[in-house]
């Protein structure tokens, strides 16, 4: 390999790299000539085409030189420039040339930061900071892993995550009230409640898709059933959140079974289509059954949950939360309480799933995903097993729906469109089917990352004032999905943890685990 490479003369290398880059540039030109090269603008005579040759040329040049650099320094060389950076995240010892490369990169990073600070070049500053952060994190990780090679890192990470989730609102609220820092707490809490709702939905769907291997494209239907069940019970019968919660869960589970029956015989694509249809049917019924659901107007006036009977309100009859504890009323109290409610609901979902995995029914779910015929030959009633998976998954969807209704105070069919199902399924697939940790990370990345793209100030400083990142959210989202599916086709956490062992069981490689055919 090495011999063959060094046998290639510099001239031949260069010509093949040039040819490859020219090809890439031609493709880029063909692709972008209409997308970027032309723009329609309003003019006095109607729409007119405005050519943008400079932009097109820039993009094509970036593709050409980028591809050329990749060819010369990464693909067609004995020493790819990316190697030392990849080595940063392993324990392999550095060679001298690795150290030189990293030192140069570090110097570049420092230069970038300096340019950012001294000349207000935000783009260089940001790139330099990223470079420094990348190298710094890599070196730190190496040092930690080398010093404590036997720490259970995953457990430490999970415990850290849970501790953070437990204390983040209280600590940030305490800091804010003590020092008046002007933190956007309301926004933070709203966002974390949203993320936790999706974590819970992802965990719920993970039972159906990840464990039982049944592809469900209509999961949002159960979310809707839970939300509307509680909304109707609360507005018509005055039931509170804590009574409505189990009823909403039971109603959704019932609907899970009702959906389960007709689809028992279906597998794979057919199952996906029928569940997709079910999701749409539920939404359209909610939209058109105006007498009961209020149609497109939805149901408003859903009560907020109370703290063991104490409402969060500045002026209410009887004792309020703030009145009972003798503290000043703050709208954030209700939000913090909602945060803890969804945190507990999500953690309960997780604990129940982890427990069920170690019980016969959970093993039967996974066995059904692996091989349904073998399951039946072992005397397992796959009908009941499928229905139990649908019902359990739907129940958690219903509980999340009930929470959603009480948080918003308003439900309408618009909240339960197919895109919601798609996002929840994307969270499960991205996280790694069957992995609780992966699903949680994926929910944070997807919902939080999507939200981060709203923050235009930083990006506008780099790309100019007319840059509107909201326009590119979907594009970036798609790019991220493609990148993850290339590098981690089985999701972020693809290995499977055994549920029982005689000695120490290590995780099973994702390559052996089947994904189920529905």
């Amino acid at each position: 390999m090495r011999l063959a490479d060094s046998g290639k003369t510099l001239g031949r290398k260069l010509s093949s790299a040039l040819g490859d880059s020219l090809l890439a540039a031609t493709i880029a030109f063909a692709l972008f000539s209409l997308v970027l090269g032309l723009r329609t603008v309003d003019s006095a005579t109607g729409l007119a085409l405005e050519p943008r040759p400079a932009l097109l040329a820039t993009v094509v040049a970036i593709v050409f030189f980028g591809r050329l650099a990749l060819n010369l320094f990464v693909w067609q060389t004995d020493y790819p420039l990316t190697r030392p950076f990849a080595k940063l995240f392993t324990l392999e010892p550095f060679e001298t040339r690795d150290e030189v490369t990293l030192a140069l990169a570090f110097a570049l990073g420092v230069l970038g930061v300096a340019a950012g600070v001294l000349f207000q070049e935000t783009l260089y500053g940001l790139l330099g900071t990223l470079m420094l952060a990348f190298i710094g994190i890599g070196l730190l990780r190496r040092a930690i892993v080398r010093t404590f090679p036997n720490l259970p890192y995953t457990q430490v990470f999970v415990a850290g995550g849970i501790l953070f989730a437990l204390f983040f609102p209280i600590v940030s609220y305490a800091l804010e009230s003590a020092f008046n820092l002007g933190l956007p707490l309301r926004y933070w809490f709203d966002l974390s409640i949203l993320i936790l709702t999706y974590v819970m939905l992802g965990w719920g769907l993970n039972i159906v898709v990840g464990l039982a291997g049944l592809l469900d494209l209509g999961y949002v239907a159960f979310y809707a059933v839970g939300a509307y069940t509680f909304a109707l019970l609360a507005t018509h019968f005055g039931l509170g959140f804590w009574i409505g919660l189990p009823i909403a869960g039971a109603a959704a589970a019932l609907w899970g079974i009702i959906l389960g029956f007709p689809v028992l015989r279906l597998r794979g694509d057919y199952l996906a289509i029928v569940t997709l249809a079910f999701g749409e049917i539920v939404r359209i019924i909610l939209l058109n059954w105006t007498e009961v659901t209020g149609g497109p107007n939805g149901i408003a006036g859903i009560p907020k949950p109370t703290f063991f009977g104490l409402p969060f309100s500045p002026f209410a009859e009887g004792t309020t939360f703030s009145g009972f504890f003798g503290i000043h009323y703050d709208g954030l109290h209700a939000l913090i309480f909602l945060y803890y409610v969804i945190l507990v609901l999500a953690l309960v979902t997780n604990l129940v799933t982890l427990r069920l995995r170690r019980l016969p029914v959970g093993r039967a779910w996974e066995a059904m995903r692996e091989d349904e015929i073998a399951c039946r030959s072992l005397g397992i009633n796959t009908t009941l097993t499928k229905l139990s998976a649908f019902a359990t998954g739907a129940m958690f969807g219903g509980l999340a729906g009930c929470f959603f209704a009480t948080r918003q105070g308003f439900v309408s069919p618009e909240s339960f469109t197919f895109i919601e199902s798609a996002i929840i399924l994307a969270i499960v697939v991205l996280g790694g089917m069957g992995s609780q940790l992966g699903v949680a990370i994926a929910a944070i990345v997807m919902v939080g990352g999507f939200e981060a793209l709203r923050h235009t100030a930083g990006l506008q400083a780099i790309f100019g004032q007319e840059f509107d990142p909201a326009l590119y959210r979907m594009l970036l989202f798609g790019l991220a999905m493609v990148a993850i599916m290339i590098w981690r086709p089985r999701g972020l956490v693809s290995s499977r943890a055994p549920t029982i062992s005689l000695g120490d069981a290590s995780a099973i490689s994702g390559d052996l685990v089947r994904q189920g055919r529905g």
């Binding site: 069920l356 039967a364 066995a367 039946r376 072992l378 685990v513």
Partner: protein, 284 residues
């Protein structure tokens, strides 16, 4: 045949197959086949390719519904079970007939031990109060699970896979996967074990080990063994009773010695000249 020299499988059958026929559209895969499987025997079902062996098997284990016929599993522990009326999972759960597959069907992403635990699902599920009890830590699920692990451990020892209990079933070598599938079927505590070509793809040494295992199952476990096999060395060495199918019909039934010398069997396996074929047709 007089009563005195009645064969063991007629005297004490665990499974009686009477007039079994199976049609797929216009094709008759199995045509009026009757035989008995003895409860202390290793019974082999042999025949050339396409003779209908696997179809008979699938009818017995409930993966096909027979067009005609009656399959009676003798009920030592209760009333007789009519297999043609049960669905596939009930045949294992209720009639206690276990099977393996020609193309191995393990749960590849689960560990060896998990495979054996899934096989004990029904008992464990009842012990866990159908999950409702065990999820709150109630009931005797812990004890039942311990017993299940012990049974799994026993069978892992029998098939020599104990050291590999925590590995993924899909990562085992082919021969190990075959033996694991037998162990998994045995973990359902069957009265009749049906094996679809258990020796396929095994080398001579593995094949010998398989023979020993099957004889041990017959002698120690109170489980009758019924197998489809192509490998004549396995069939002739370990079976007590051989049934031969050809073109969906039964052409011979008896001890290995009797079957080996049966002219119909020789004709089916080796082929015969036209004159001999005519002579064979004329024989009873």
């Amino acid at each position: 045949m007089s009563g005195a020299d009645a064969k063991s499988w007629d005297r004490d059958p665990i499974l009686t197959v009477e007039h079994l026929s199976m049609h797929f559209g216009g094709i008759t895969a199995v045509d009026d086949v009757s035989f008995a499987v003895g409860c202390k025997d290793i019974t082999a079902l042999i025949g050339p390719n396409g003779a209908g062996k696997t179809t008979v098997f699938n009818c017995i284990t409930g993966f096909y519904k027979p067009t005609e016929g009656m399959l009676t599993l003798d009920g030592k522990d209760g009333p007789p079970r009519f297999l043609e009326r049960l669905t596939d999972y009930e045949i294992n759960a209720d009639a206690r007939v276990a099977r393996t597959f020609q193309n191995i069907r393990l749960f590849p992403g689960m560990t060896v031990l998990e495979n054996l635990m899934v096989a004990q699902h029904n008992g464990l599920s009842r012990a866990s109060g159908f999950s409702f009890g065990a999820i709150f830590g109630l009931g005797r699920f812990g004890i039942a699970e311990k017993e299940a692990i012990d049974l799994a451990r026993y069978w892992l020892g029998q098939v020599g896979l104990l050291p590999r209990a925590d590995e993924a079933a899909g990562s085992l070598a082919y021969g190990d996967q075959r033996r694991l599938e037998i162990a998994r079927a045995m973990c359902t505590r069957p009265r009749l074990l049906c094996l679809d070509e258990p020796a396929a793809g095994l080398n001579a040494k593995e094949s010998d080990a398989l023979n020993t295992l099957l004889q041990a199952i017959r002698d120690k476990e109170d489980t009758a063994v019924f197998l489809i096999e192509h490998d004549m060395s396995v069939v002739m060495r370990i079976s007590d009773h051989v049934i031969v199918l050809d073109y969906g019909k039964k052409i011979a039934d008896g001890t290995p010695g009797e079957v080996r010398n049966d002219p119909h069997v020789i004709a089916a396996y080796l082929g015969v000249s036209d004159e001999d074929a005519a002579a064979l047709e004329a024989r009873p």
